[in-house]
Each structure stands twice: as C-alpha cells, then as structure tokens.
C-alpha cells in the first residue's frame, strides 16, 4: 500500500495538478460560452466533441516458459497458466475541437500496459489540422502514420473485427509508426472512385521493450529516428486498395557497441567482419513496401496485406509479412478466420565462434543481438465477434502460433527452441 508521504506519489500528484491546471487555463482561454438560451448550443457544444474507447480483455495459454505480447510496446506478457487481464485491456479518450471549416485540432490519450510495465496515460496524437480545400488537409503535431490498415487507430479495438492487430505485422513496427512531424492528405475523384495520396514525415516517438537487448531485457524510447511514408489508395463502393512505401532512418545506433568491443579482441576473420558491420551500422535505414486491400461483398469481408522490408543495419536482414482475414456477418454475430505470417532472413552468414568455453558468452551475446528483431512466426486465428449493442462488442479468439523466432513472444526457458503456443482471448470492446 503506497504511503501518503511516498515521494513518488507526491511527485505524481504535483505533476497531475500541473497538468490539470494547464488544461483548466486552456479551457478558460477558449472563446466565451454564449449565454445559454433554451435551445441555443454553447460554443463548446458546437465545436468540441469528446470520444472514448476501451477494451477489457482476458488471455490464457499453457506454454511454460513463454510470455505472449501484442507488440514491442508492452513489457509485461501473458504468462502460462495465468489468466491475464493486462495485455488486451486499454482505455482511451479523444478531444476534437473544430474552430471553423478549415481548422481543427485533436488530442488522444491512451492508458495501457506499456513498455515500462505501467499504465501511465500517454499521448497518442496531438495535432492541428488545416484544410485549405475540402480535398486537402495538412496536420502538424504528433500522429500515427496511416500507411497500413488499422495502424493509425489500432488501440480502438471496437473498430476492428478481430481482438488485436496481428503481431506478425504490427508487433515490431508499432514502436516506429508514431511520429512528431507533418502529414499531408489529398483526395480526388478518380476512375469513378476516390483516390487518396498520403505523405508523412517526422521524428519517431515510440517505446519498446526488447528482451534480447540485455540479459534482463530493456525498456527504452526510440531516439534519433525518423519516418517518411507515402501511401496511394483507391476506394470505390466497398473496395479499397493501397500501395505504400516507408523508410525508417536511425542515427547514432550504439546498441551493439559492447558486442563489437568483445569481438574485436578475437583473431577470427568472421568476428572482425561482424565488428566492421556493427561499425557501419551506427546509421541504419529500413525501407518497407507493401500492398493492402479490403473488400466487402454482402455479408462477407475480406482483408489482405503483403509487405516486404529490409534492415540495412546489423544484422542485415530482409523480411516479409503476409496477412489475410475473412469474416462473415450474420445478424449480431461475425465469425472470422485470420492468418498472418512474418519471416526475416539474415543476409550475411551467422557468426559461429569456435566452441571454446571462454567464447560462449560472446557467442550467446551475438546470437541474442542477431535475433533481437528476427521473425519466423505464423498465426492462424479463429474468432467470433458479437454486437452487444451499438457501443459494445464481445469477442472471443483462439490464436494458434508457430514461432521459431519472435521478438514479441518472451522466452524465459533457454532450453526451449520454439515459441509455439495456443492463446485463448476474450474481450469486451466499447465506445463512449
């Protein structure tokens, strides 16, 4: 039980009071509310909208030595034989202010189990949007880039048929798709549908917990990294197709310097080659390309995503991701099946040191670094969504995962080679 004199509690209260005061002053600075006549809405009612979303989730599996995570943004995982309520539970709120037809702003905050193992509310987006014409808008501030289906609003699970975005797609990249910068959205009527061009650029603001980054894992904030993205989409009736390209640029990467220092002392050419590779990888770029489509035909819904990427740092890897989903709506029930597959392939030969006991720690350190973000994982999911009412949905999902390598699945058993598991999850997703 936290005592009232606890310094952390006092600091939190002070911070909360400061934030509350700033919010109150901001509200005071809004244009004065007109004297309320009986049917006349106030300025606040006309220009400010509040939305909220949340999920209460429970997950369970029986694989000893493994912990399931949605993505790298979470530190805590679903452990074996324990009903976990943290992984899929989220609460979020958003305030939108429309100043006039051209200018608006938005602030979204979310509380969820995060990369530091706590539930501290975090700003997901905070931006000003200017629309000089009905078909063009520019946003400046903090946003989540929108190249792929579901990425920009992935915390609002009610919006989606499934319980959570596939870790094969969003497990790693969710730490890198929020940015502070600018984006640009232009739409036009094209070939009897609507064409859309989306461009985004900014400094990445993401957090992650990497099990392989150190013996006890490490929570850190992504620094010195930028994202540049472009997406073209075309939408007609119930069909939408997208083509996207992204580039992540990382500078001042010194994560693997300790490994390089250790390997530099070895007289093996292969070890020296790895040292040279790490020295070059202080600046890394990761290009990503993809196609995605969604289509609804009567009660059927189909979604497909195909993406490829390269990591030009250490180790050099190429990766590919495939995802497909089919759902069928029948009254308030929507059963669905989903398949996701992700695999990376190291471009260079893996370092294999002589099996001398003194070299074992270095070999283990190399293996851990080389596999920190390696993926060889596929999941087949079957689920059911039930509309409780217009604001809430119940979902049940079973995920059968086969994984030889997975940066999101935590392994605490060094003797275990695979990360295969069957996860059962249930959520109530809601809007308010």
């Amino acid at each position: 039980m936290m005592h009232l004199s606890n310094p952390k509690l006092i600091a939190y209260c002070k911070t909360s009071m400061i934030k509350a005061s700033v919010a109150y002053i901001a509200l005071l600075s809004l244009p004065p509310v007109a004297m309320a006549e009986e049917d006349s809405p106030s300025w606040f009612e006309e220009h400010v909208t509040l939305h909220g979303f949340g999920s209460i989730g429970a997950s369970y599996h029986t694989e000893e030595g493994l912990g399931y995570r949605r993505n790298l943004e979470q530190k805590d995982s679903v452990e074996a034989h324990k009903l976990d309520f943290a992984s899929d539970s989220i609460l979020g709120g958003q305030v939108d202010v429309r100043f006039n037809d051209n200018l608006s702003s938005s602030l979204q905050m979310v509380s969820r189990n995060n990369a530091y193992g706590n539930w501290k509310p975090a700003v997901v987006s905070a931006f000003i949007k200017y629309s000089p014409t009905p078909s063009l808008s520019v946003r400046v501030g903090q946003m989540t880039q929108d190249s792929n289906f579901g990425s920009a609003s992935r915390y609002a699970s009610y919006a989606y048929t499934y319980i959570r975005p596939s870790p094969e797609i969003y497990g790693v990249f969710s730490s890198y798709d929020r940015y502070q910068g600018v984006d640009f959205d232009y739409r036009l009527q094209l070939a009897s549908g609507i064409g859309r061009l989306y461009l985004a650029h900014g400094d990445i603001v993401g957090n992650r917990y990497l099990q392989g980054a150190s013996p006890d894992g490490r929570s850190d904030r992504v620094k010195d990294a930028k994202v540049t993205a472009a997406m073209l989409s075309w939408q007609k009736d119930s069909l939408e197709v997208r083509a996207f390209v992204e580039k992540l640029d990382f500078k001042n990467v010194h994560t693997f310097d300790p490994l390089a220092q250790g390997l530099a002392t070895l007289p093996f050419p292969q070890a020296q080659a790895v040292v040279a590779q790490i020295d070059e990888a202080h600046t890394i770029d990761v290009p990503i390309y993809g196609l995605a489509a969604e289509y609804e035909l009567d009660a059927w819904k189909f979604q497909g995503i195909l993406s490829k990427y390269k990591n030009n740092g250490f180790p050099k890897t190429e990766g590919k991701i495939i995802k497909g989903m089919v759902a069928y709506r029948h009254g308030n029930f929507t059963p669905y099946v989903m398949m996701a597959y992700g695999k990376t392939k190291q471009q260079d030969d893996a370092l294999v040191l002589p099996p001398i006991p003194a070299l074992k720690p270095l070999q283990a350190a190399y293996n851990q670094a080389a596999n920190a973000l390696a993926v060889d994982q596929s999941t087949f999911s079957v689920g059911l969504r039930y509309e409780i009412n217009d604001h809430a949905a119940f979902k049940f999902q079973v995920d059968k995962t086969r994984a030889d390598k997975s940066p999101t699945i935590i392994s605490t058993d060094p003797t275990r080679q695979d990360k295969d598991m069957t996860l059962m999850s249930a959520t109530i997703d809601f809007l308010f």
């Binding site: 929108d146 989606y160 809007l431």
Partner: protein, 163 residues
C-alpha cells in the same frame, strides 16, 4: 412469399366485395385480418437526401452520397465543402439503404476514422424538423428526411428506397 399471399388475399377480398350487393363489415374485418396474418404488405419508405435550395448542385448519385456521408470525399460537384448531417430519427434506415450497414457497423467504421484523426462523423440532429431547419440555414449542409416529411423549401438531390 408474404407479399404474394397478401396479394392473393387482397384479390380475394376485392372479388368478394365486387360480387356482393352490400358490404359486410364483419367479412371486411376478417379479410383484413387475413391480410395481416398472411404477412405484412410492406410499403417502401423513401428517404430523400436534401440540401439548401440555393445549392448549385441539383442532383447527386448514390455513390456521391456514400462518399459524403462516409467521410471519404466531402465535396459537392462544384468543389464546395459538403457538410453532412445525420437525422437521428431515421439514421438506421438511411445507412441500411445507403451502404447496407447496421448501426454497430457504422459505429465501428467511424471509430476507425475518428481515432485515426482523419475526419469526424456527420453532426447528429434530433429529427426531420431540426434537419430541415439546419439545411435551410447552411447552404453547404446536406442531410436526409423521410420523403413524406420533405419540405418544399428544400432541394431533394437523391431518393433512396429503404431495404
């Protein structure tokens, strides 16, 4: 099938009355009861998409209506901003006719757009009288009403039949 049975019963009643010298209220009631029991004779509800009379656009397609009300492309043919307004009284019927989506599906659709920060759903207004009032006060507003309540003062751009 229900419509066919209703038709048959209606025809039988008409035939009966036309061959009798005087109407029989009891039989008339029984006939009507048969019609009701055999199934409802559905009368299609027409929903009119309306705009300000001074709007330079005289008609829109269903596709244009989908683009405007689903937040994809909020622009009239003349390039001006289209401001969609939902009529809470017939909102469910409207979206079922327009895009064949239930209330829950529309909510999920908008949740995706709202929380991605792209666009907000149409303003929600209580009923047809309030909708007409809003449309008449804003040349860029576009909304919908039951055609039986459509006011001659507004311009009807498109008529949807409910499903």
């Amino acid at each position: 099938m229900r419509l066919l049975l209703s038709f048959i019963h209606l025809f039988m009643c008409f035939d009966y009355f036309s061959t009798r010298a005087k109407s029989n209220p009891t039989l008339a009631c029984l006939c009507l009861l048969l019609i009701c029991l055999s199934g409802k004779v559905s009368i299609a509800q027409e929903i009119g998409i309306i705009a300000h009379p001074n709007n330079s656009v005289n008609e829109i397609s269903q596709e244009d209506a989908v683009n405007i009300f689903m937040g994809r492309y909020r622009q009239f043919a003349d390039g001006k901003l289209a401001k969609p307004i939902d009529n809470a009284a017939i909102k469910s019927k409207f979206y079922l006719s327009l895009v064949n989506k239930s209330n829950a599906e529309i909510k999920a659709y908008w949740a995706r757009l709202i929380f991605a920060g792209h666009t907000l759903p149409p303003e929600n207004v209580q009923d047809s009288d309030a909708v007409i009032d809003r449309v008449l006060n804003d040349p860029q507003a576009i909304s919908y009403v039951d055609m039986r309540k459509a006011d001659a003062k507004v311009k009807v751009l498109f008529v949807l039949r409910d499903k």
